[in-house]
Amino acid sequence: MTTEASLEHAIRQIAAAELGHSEADLTLDQKLRDAPGVESVKLLRIIATVEERYEVELDDEVVFGEIQSIRDLAEAVRPLLTGADVAVGE
């Protein structure tokens, strides 16, 4: 079972790895664009990794628009997951 928080934490792990930060430095509600060292290329790489890991395709409006934080990203991914996909983040 994946708890609600585990998707957020898995995405935080992906973001931290891409940005070269420790996970502790990234809060779930921090605007990703404001994190140190972030540029659009790194955001795209985070999103690409998330899409690949969970086998989902996020809408352009989500990729380039609404996503502000790790929690937002998780909330965009969650409704696209089937039961089988959810386990991938474990």
């Binding site: 540029e39 290329v41 795209l44 690409a48 352009d60 990729v63 380039f64």
Partner: protein, 279 residues
Amino acid sequence: MAGPVSHPTNQHYDVSPAIYEAFLDRNLKYSSALFGSDHDDLDTAQVHKMRFVAAQLNLSGGQRVLDVGAGWGSLALHLATELSCTVTAVTPSEEQAAFVEQRAEARGVAAQVDVVTAPVESLDLPERAFDGVTMLGSIVHMPDREGVLRRAYRSLRWGGRLYLSESCFRSQARYDALTDSPGTSFVRDEIFGAGDMVPLSVLVKAAEDAGFSLCALHDLTAHYKRTIDHWLANARRNTELLERHEPGLTDRLVRYFETANAGWGYATKHYAIVGARRR
């Protein structure tokens, strides 16, 4: 057909070919390969791509081809050696022109490869003289797209074909949002020297306005991503050589390749279009 040589893109292209040998395939083809299988190496995939381009132009042997933005001459030399074509290879870069001439000589096809060192915009091209025109990743550097395509059209015989491939923002909205982003500005200003990665619709309109009938559209995005993965691995492996030429060069190339590969499919696409001079 000589013209002025100074050109804003030359800061990237008018440098020693040894730099490009450090990350490109053995033919120094500086554009997308076409992978036929999971196992193709870069050399194989680049040759496969050149055969694909020749097939798109219906070249069977002995035709006359104008290659606009010939780079290090991979395609011009391939068409001359593999298909006995006569090729006019245009580049504004003196380094590239000298290199192509030398390779043509070495491969015994100097008589078939006419290297012209000038921006294509400055050339007085012969009318209805070519069976095919190729523009692989070169129109991005040419602000007067329609003017260049009109010249290409007029230089083709009736029934002749144009193969044009380019990296494009995937829509006008993405172009508007990202053309001045740090990633795009870096690639444009620090790598290309000059370039405007317009959406495909802009290129299609320019081709239509120039008179072309459009025969095909190919999505090569995944192939370019894989090509650049090879360039990235090669550049990292040859860091020492690159740094000897210019300290910091590896980092610049790696940033370029990583930026390009992060954008494919999200911000950008790589397309090829084929046009013909026909009803």
